[in-house]
Symmetry: none
């Protein structure tokens, strides 16, 4: 099956956004064993969209289109597709009803601009949008089927999984299942991960191995396509392959279930029935934000103190002034006292603390940008370590520091 | 001038990488006042590349191609372009000399794979690569000029700036410039923004208007292409157009310079020489994380207390127990006391506080998921407001709550 992807929107051509939708769709289709023939992007222009849709229809059997379904005048995907199909837009009663329901559940009212979104090409099938207002649609142009999805990534992904994926699975012969394992790795560069698992293809020729950098982690994915009937056998083969990989990555695998560090830390705390507090300086609240992104985190998370000013490190966390004077804020001793202070203030079993220099300024010869001290306080321990981890930008450094702190906490929790 | 971008490489179509090269090139060209007509991607296949290059040559005057210039057998951009131009590859003496020089300076030796990289289409001009081994080239196919650059971003960017940019500046007569204005809007749905500025195209036919949802904000962009000589006049026209739009969006424009809420809050605090603390419950550290993402935020940000447990709201922030008993944690009075407590603990001029229910669980009939109370404490005020803002997921609700809190703080700061 010849398959293409088309994204619409001036924001792509103006370079305002990077087209992550297309990359995500390519990966999804790859997992189905469907190669994408070409990816293209056009602006919010009816003529351009019409021209490109016609060209794609002349060479592909299936095309997934994203973007341009919104309520404003620059959203013209439906109009461009209709023109390419030699038809017109018409008010689609089912689409309007679906949007009205979405609005009613939120206590909003439909406006005339939203009614524009219910104008679909004649003959199109509506694809319901459970996460937003823009309905998608499916339309045949010549011998090619176009699935037009919203540009908002969360809405696009949901609609793809709910409406497009099942049809593709059926088209490609039905009962194929996928065994997938995701190992999350922290503390090794992608090239080093690749080097360590060299030889995998020879050992397990029927399992596809993939790597993906999810900064600051590396996801190692094992994928095997199997017939539903033989799924148990495949699961067993997969388990030995996972062990093969994990042995070579040593203790750097932080989760065998695709969990992030904060999810794994939460799992360990919940299992132990213990609680956590956090003290942050350079990470500025990011650790706390990550921990509280996990639903149910209120069961184990109690308190974070983000203490930028030294006066607050002393006042709220009880860090001794003479430590700050003797060693400065970025030091193992400060990190220890911050962790102990957060544990005390929060009344929790555990605490983790960071103090460091995220940059771009503030570095010295002694403590360059990228220096971070992590402290961990627990029922029977108080430790600290210094790392130098410069990923090149303030934002990336904050993420790297947060991951280093969560990883040190994870190891302490795992005992 | 009709301009396209083409990226080559299986890694784009497999979804292994996100095509950031194209986005970067679009931005560069935009800044020159050159709109990109279309962006496309093809795999490492001579036939596919030849077909796409021919199609582009039929409709564009200039195309920038990235990728496929490497030493391995899957790098076939030169071969595909040569076939599209109806010519062949030949050993390019100057390219070979350039690569030999690059290797010699590093004490390396040229291998047979590298000699492949010196095979360029007959009639092509070589573009030297100062940062890597792969030489680029410039080739006319029909009436379209193709600039073929390496896929490695650092090499691509350097070659574009050194070799392509000067030629483009000359071609466009040098003096094209772009006037761009970015208005950031908070508190209106995209459809409502579009409705309010309807009629803009008629009032300002030469200014292009675009909308982009940057959750939870809407960016409204005004773009006008002008000759350098008349830039002042254009700036004046732009200023009246911006006023036209702003009048219709009322006080919902939070920045006329494309700033985010946290950047604008930082700008206001810095301008006033004042400081800030934060108390967070439901936002879990996100407000603090956003504020500290801004470089230099240590000049005005002092302290955040993320107080999930009621005992910590009392212990660290001094929220009265009887308030928590009488009203519960999610209440305007609690938000006020949290803000006042954070202001006191941090010793700052201002504080903002959130307490609410991000979901997915924890909602009641009285206080459904999406309920958030925001408190603001300042030198001469202590106020609180309740909002119900459900964006459908815990993560989105955290962002929406954080934005509502920053916006209430921004208005207080702006006086």
């Amino acid at each position: 099956m010849t398959l293409e992807i088309l994204s619409t929107g001036d924001e792509v051509l103006l370079g305002d956004i990077v087209d992550t939708n297309s990359a995500w769709l390519c990966r999804q289709l790859m997992q189905l064993g469907l190669g994408v023939h070409a990816v293209s992007a056009v602006g919010d222009d009816i003529d351009d969209i019409c021209r490109v849709v016609k060209a794609v229809a002349g060479r592909a059997e299936l095309c997934i289109v994203t973007g341009g379904l919104g309520p404003t005048s620059d959203d013209v995907t439906a109009a461009g597709c209709a023109r390419a199909a030699g038809t017109e837009l018409e008010r689609h009663a089912q689409a309007l009803a679906s949007m009205a329901g979405f609005f009613r559940r939120r206590g909003w009212e439909l406006g005339p601009d939203n009614e524009k979104q219910a104008m679909l090409p004649k003959g199109a099938d509506m694809l319901e949008n459970c996460h937003g207002t823009a309905p998608g649609f499916k339309l045949a142009v010549s011998n090619c089927v176009f699935y037009c999805l919203p540009g908002v990534p969360s809405e696009m992904k949901k609609m793809f999984k709910d409406r497009v994926l099942p049809e593709l699975v059926e088209k490609t012969g039905g009962r194929n299942a996928l065994c997938i394992r995701r190992l999350m790795v922290f503390g090794l560069a992608e090239s080093e991960v690749g080097r360590r698992v060299a030889g995998f293809e020879q050992a397990y020729p029927k399992i596809r191995l993939g790597f993906r950098a999810v900064f600051p982690m590396i996801e190692v994915k094992l994928v095997k396509s199997v017939k539903e009937a033989s799924k148990d056998v495949a699961e067993e083969q997969m388990a030995t392959a996972v062990t093969w990989v994990a042995d070579r990555l040593d203790h750097r695998v932080i989760s065998f279930e695709g969990l992030t560090l904060e999810q794994e830390v939460g799992r360990l705390l919940r299992a132990a029935g213990q609680t956590l507090s956090v003290a942050e300086s350079c990470t500025g609240g990011l650790i706390s934000h990550l921990i509280t992104d996990v639903p149910g985190s209120s069961d184990y998370f109690l308190f974070t103190g983000v203490t930028y000013a030294n006066s607050v490190k002393t006042g709220v966390l009880g860090v001794a002034e003479d430590i700050l004077i003797a060693h400065g804020a970025v030091h193992e001793e400060t990190a220890k006292q911050m962790a102990a202070g957060a544990r005390r203030a929060g009344g929790s079993d555990w605490a983790v603390a960071t103090t460091g220099i995220a940059g771009p300024s503030g570095g010295t010869a002694d403590k360059p940008v990228g220096t971070v001290c992590v402290g961990v306080a627990g029922p029977d321990r108080l430790t600290a370590r210094r790392f130098v981890l410069d990923a090149g930008s303030r934002e990336k450094n904050k993420h790297l520091f947060a991951a280093a702190a969560l990883e040190m906490l994870r190891r302490a929790l795992a005992g």
